[in-house]
C-alpha cells in the first residue's frame, strides 16, 4: 500500500513559531514524497489540536502521522493515543522534535532553524514510511510479591500489598521482624513509644493470611524479569525447629554462654541461643553457632537440647533453599549507622562514654539494658551534663559522607528532651551546623526542647573529644559569638551518618538494580518516580533509598505497594514492542549479542544454532544491534534500512 503520511507542525505558541517559519515548513513538507497532508496549528497538544490530527487521519485516510513539536518524552503518548482512536497504529505515529532540538537552541538563526526543522521532519517521514504496525507485548505474570526486609518500610509494604488482595513473601535476615524502629525508645515529634505503635503491625504481618513471613532468611539468587521472577531464599539454619518450638524460653534461660546483644547495641548481653527482644516476632529463639559452646568445642555442652521440653533443638539442622515465583520485588533493606570507630577525633569506639544514637535509644527504652534510666556506660552513674553531636560523618565530603542524614537533628533533639525528662537537674547541649526540622510538627518540637527543656544549642562542629578526670572534654566553637568553647561532660552521644547496610549493597548487586555512589538504591526519577527502580518490577521503600524518618518510610512503602497493586491490576504484563529481533536467516550464531546484552535478554537457541531475543526482557537499548557483525540483530521500527534513509534525508541538499 502507498504510504499516506500526515505532517502536523505545532507552533507551541511562540516557542517554535517565534523562530521557525512554521507555515513554510508545513508547505515544504506537503511536497515531500509520501506526505498526503501537511498543516500547522498553534497548540497541537490542545484538544482542538488533537482533533485536527484525528479528523485529518479520517479525511485523508492517513497511514502514518508525524507531529513536529516538542520532545517525545512529553507528548508522544498523547498523539499515539489520538492516532489509535482515529485508526492509525500507535507505533506509526512519530514525533519530530523541532523545539528542544531546533527552535530553542537556534533562537538567533531563524532561516537556518527553519531549514533544520524541515530536515528533522523529513527524517521522521522516512522513518514513518517503513514503520510497522506493532502491538504491545503481553507477558504472563505471577501475582505475588516479594518484600525484602521487615523493618517498618517492609512491613508496611507487605501489609498494603496483602490487603490489596495479593500474596506476599516477606523475607527478613534477622531472627525477628521490626528492624531499627523496634529498637527506638520514643518517636519524634509526638513522643509516642516506638514499640507500642510498631508491635501491632509486627503481629499483623505475622498473622496475615496472605503474607508468608520468612525470618532468619536471605535472598540467595534472583532470576527472571518483571512479572516472572524466580527467587531462591536461603532459610538459615536456626538449629531450632521454629515451627515446633513453643517459645517457652527454657533453652535461653539455661544457656551458659553470654555475648553482646546486637539488639541492645552491645550495651547488654544475650545468650548463644536467643530471641533478640521480648516482643520479637516470631518469639522463637535461634542458635548462634559462632558463640555456642556445642559448636565451638566439639559437641560439649548441649544443655539447650537437653532442657527443651518439645525436643526442637537440632544441631544437625542445615540451611534450606526455598524457591518462590513472584511478579514484583519491593526492596526495603534499611540502613545502618556509620561506624563510630571512624570518628577518631571524638574517641569513637575508644571511650566508653562516647556512644551512638542507637545506643542512647536502647538506654532510654523501658525494655532496654538500663530499663530506661540514663547511665554512663563506664561507671553506671547518672550523667549530669550530656553533649549531643549532630553531623558525625554527615555533610563531610572530605573525610566521611557528603550528604545530610536527615534524621539526626530530630532524634538528637528528642534525646536531649527525653534525657531532661529523666534527669531533671541535668543539662543537655547540642552542637549543630543547622537544625533541620523539615517535617510536620518538627520545628515546634525543636522549639520545645530549647525553650521548655533548656537544651542549649551551640552552633559549631566539635573539633575533638578527650577524656580527663572521668569527664569527656568536648572542644567546640560557638560560631555565633566566635568563641572557642569547652564542656566537661559526663557523656557524649554521636548523631552518626545514616548509611545503607552492607548486606543491602550486596543484595542490590544480586538483584542488578542501580544504587548511587554511596550504595543507596537509585530511584527511576528523583521527583516523578521515587518508589520505582529503573529495572522494571523492582520497587523501593524506606531508608535503603536514602535517609528517612518513620513517616516518610511508611509513605514510601505505601507508595511502592500501590505501584505493585497497579502492576498486578492487569492479568498480563504489557510492555513496549520497540525491542530487538534476530533475522534467523542471516544469524551465524556468533553470540556477540549475548555477550553485550546488559539485561540478559539475548540467549542462544542450541537447536537452531542462532541467537534469540526474549521479548519479555529486552529493553530495546540497541547494544546487540550495534555489535552484530552480520546486521542480523535489528530494532523494531528502527531498522538499518530506516536509519540509512533517515540519514540520507538529513544529508540531502
Amino acid at each position: 500500500m502507498e504510504e499516506r503520511i500526515g505532517v502536523f507542525v505545532c507552533h507551541c505558541g511562540s516557542n517554535i513559531a517565534g523562530v521557525v517559519d512554521v507555515k513554510r515548513v508545513a508547505e515544504e513538507l506537503g511536497k515531500y514524497p509520501g506526505v498526503a497532508h501537511s498543516t500547522d496549528y498553534t497548540y497541537m497538544c490542545s484538544d482542538p489540536g488533537q482533533n485536527l490530527v484525528k479528523d485529518a487521519i479520517k479525511e485523508h485516510n492517513l497511514t502514518g502521522v508525524i507531529v513536529a513539536a516538542c520532545s517525545p518524552t512529553l507528548h508522544e503518548a498523547t498523539f499515539r493515543r489520538a492516532g489509535r482512536v482515529a485508526g492509525v497504529n500507535p507505533y506509526q505515529v512519530e514525533i519530530a522534535n523541532i523545539r528542544e532540538h531546533c527552535s530553542w537552541v537556534h533562537q538567533g538563526e531563524k532561516e537556518a532553524a527553519t531549514e533544520k526543522a524541515i530536515k528533522i521532519i523529513k527524517t521522521m517521514v522516512e522513518k514513518a514510511r517503513l514503520d510497522e504496525a506493532l502491538d504491545p507485548i503481553s507477558v504472563p505474570m505471577t501475582h505475588k510479591a516479594l518484600v525484602v526486609g521487615a523493618g517498618i518500610a517492609g512491613i508496611q509494604a507487605a501489609l498494603d500489598i496483602a490487603n490489596a488482595g495479593h500474596e506476599v513473601v516477606l523475607v527478613e535476615k534477622s531472627p525477628s521482624v521490626g528492624g531499627h524502629m523496634a529498637q527506638l525508645s520514643e518517636t519524634f515529634p509526638t513522643l509516642d513509644c516506638s514499640q507500642c505503635i510498631m508491635t501491632p503491625k509486627m503481629v499483623e504481618v505475622s498473622q496475615h493470611p496472605r503474607i508468608n513471613l520468612m525470618t532468619y532468611s536471605e535472598i540467595d539468587d534472583v532470576a527472571g524479569f518483571v512479572g516472572n521472577f524466580k527467587v531462591k531464599i536461603r532459610k538459615k539454619a536456626a538449629y531450632v525447629d521454629r515451627d515446633a518450638c513453643t517459645g517457652c524460653g527454657v533453652c535461653v534461660e539455661k544457656c551458659p554462654v553470654k555475648t553482646e546483644s546486637e539488639f541492645d547495641e552491645g550495651l547488654a548481653m544475650r545468650k548463644a541461643i536467643y530471641t533478640p527482644f521480648p516482643q520479637a516476632v516470631p518469639n522463637k529463639p535461634v542458635l548462634d553457632p559462632e558463640h555456642c559452646t556445642y559448636f565451638l568445642k566439639d559437641g560439649k555442652c548441649g544443655i539447650c537440647q537437653k532442657v527443651c521440653p518439645v525436643g526442637c533443638v537440632d544441631y544437625e539442622q542445615k540451611d534450606e533453599i526455598i524457591e518462590e515465583e513472584v511478579g514484583a520485588i519491593v526492596v526495603a533493606t534499611g540502613y545502618d549507622l556509620y561506624p563510630i570507630e571512624n570518628m577518631g577525633e571524638y574517641g569513637g569506639g575508644k571511650y566508653a562514654d562516647v556512644i551512638t544514637g542507637l545506643q542512647f535509644e536502647r538506654m532510654l527504652s523501658a525494655s532496654g539494658p538500663t530499663e530506661g534510666e540514663v547511665r554512663r556506660p563506664s561507671d553506671g552513674k547518672e550523667p549530669k551534663e550530656i553533649v549531643f553531636l549532630t553531623c558525625c560523618g554527615s555533610r563531610d565530603p572530605e573525610a566521611h559522607m557528603p550528604y545530610c542524614s536527615k534524621v539526626c537533628c530530630m532524634y538528637l533533639t528528642k534525646h536531649a528532651m527525653l534525657y531532661k525528662h529523666k534527669v531533671h537537674d541535668g543539662q543537655a547541649y547540642v552542637f549543630y551546623m543547622d537544625v533541620r526540622t523539615a517535617g510536620k510538627g518538627y520545628e515546634e518540637f525543636y522549639t520545645r526542647a530549647a525553650e521548655e527543656d533548656d537544651v542549649l544549642y551551640i552552633r559549631g562542629k566539635v573539633s575533638k573529644i578527650y577524656e580527663e578526670d572521668g569527664k569527656v572534654m568536648v572542644w567546640g566553637v560557638d560560631t555565633l559569638t566566635g568563641k572557642k568553647v569547652e564542656i566537661a561532660a559526663d557523656m557524649a552521644v554521636l548523631g552518626l551518618a545514616t548509611v545503607p547496610n552492607v548486606a543491602a549493597k550486596k543484595l542490590a548487586n544480586k538483584l542488578k538494580i542501580h544504587t548511587d555512589e554511596w550504595g543507596f538504591l537509585a530511584e527511576a526519577h528523583p521527583k516523578l518516580r521515587p518508589v520505582e527502580s529503573l529495572a522494571p518490577g523492582f520497587y523501593l521503600a524506606g531508608a535503603a533509598q536514602g535517609p528517612k524518618d518513620i513517616p516518610e518510610a511508611v509513605a514510601q512503602a505505601s507508595g511502592a505497594a500501590s505501584k505493585v497493586a497497579h502492576l498486578f491490576a492487569e492479568e498480563e504484563y504489557h510492555r513496549e514492542p520497540i525491542i530487538a529481533w534476530i533475522d534467523e536467516d542471516t544469524c551465524a550464531g556468533c553470540r556477540v549479542c549475548i555477550s553485550v546484552c546488559p539485561y540478559d535478554a539475548a540467549e542462544f537457541d542450541e537447536e537452531n544454532g542462532i541467537a534469540k531475543i526474549q521479548e519479555a526482557i529486552c529493553e530495546g537499548c540497541g547494544a546487540c544491534i550495534a555489535a552484530c557483525p552480520s546486521a542480523s540483530a535489528q530494532q523494531r521500527n528502527l531498522t538499518d534500512e530506516q536509519v540509512y534513509k533517515m540519514v540520507s534525508a538529513a544529508l540531502e541538499g
Binding site: 551534663e385 543539662q427 542549649l456 552552633r459 559569638t481 568563641k483
Partner: protein
C-alpha cells in the same frame, strides 16, 4: 582562650536576674539576628544585640554587662517590634543596665517582684524602670 561552659554558668544568678527583670526568656531567641539587622544604632555598638543575647545564653553575663551596647541602646523598641519570637531585646538591655547601676548587687534594694500589679498596668513602662533605677542605682 577557650571558654568553659557549664550548667552553673548558664543557669547563673545574674542570668536568672536578667530574665526576671526583663520578663524575657533568653532561650526563646533562636539567633536569627533580625534585631541586630534592624537596630538604628547598631553601628555604634561594640557587641550587636543578638550577640548580647547569645552571650547570656552561654552564661557569659560579665561580657554582656561590660559591653558599650547596653548604653548605646535608645530603647526605641525597633528590635522588639521585629523579633519573630517575641523577645524584647530592649527590655533585656534595660535589665542589664539596671544590674550595672546596682553595682551588680545580687540583692536589690527594691525587688522587681515587689512592684505591684497596679503600678505595672497603670504606670508607663519606662516610669517603672526609672523608679527601680532610682531606688537601686
Amino acid at each position: 582562650m577557650r571558654l568553659r561552659i557549664t550548667s552553673e554558668h548558664i543557669k547563673g544568678d545574674i542570668i536568672k536576674r536578667v530574665e526576671d527583670l526583663s520578663g524575657q526568656s533568653l532561650l526563646e531567641c533562636y539567633q536569627c539576628g533580625k534585631c541586630s539587622a534592624g537596630c538604628p544604632v547598631v553601628n555604634e555598638m561594640d557587641v550587636i544585640p543578638s550577640e548580647v543575647i547569645r552571650l547570656l545564653q552561654l552564661g557569659q553575663a560579665d561580657e554582656a554587662l561590660d559591653s558599650k551596647t547596653i548604653w548605646i541602646c535608645a530603647s526605641c523598641l525597633q528590635c522588639a517590634s521585629k523579633c519573630p519570637k517575641g523577645v524584647e531585646f530592649s527590655s533585656i538591655c534595660d535589665a542589664l543596665r539596671q544590674i550595672v547601676l546596682r553595682k551588680r548587687l545580687s540583692t536589690p534594694r527594691m525587688d522587681a517582684d515587689e512592684v505591684s500589679a497596679i503600678m505595672v498596668s497603670d504606670a508607663p513602662q519606662m516610669g517603672v524602670v526609672g523608679a527601680l533605677r532610682k531606688l537601686n542605682g
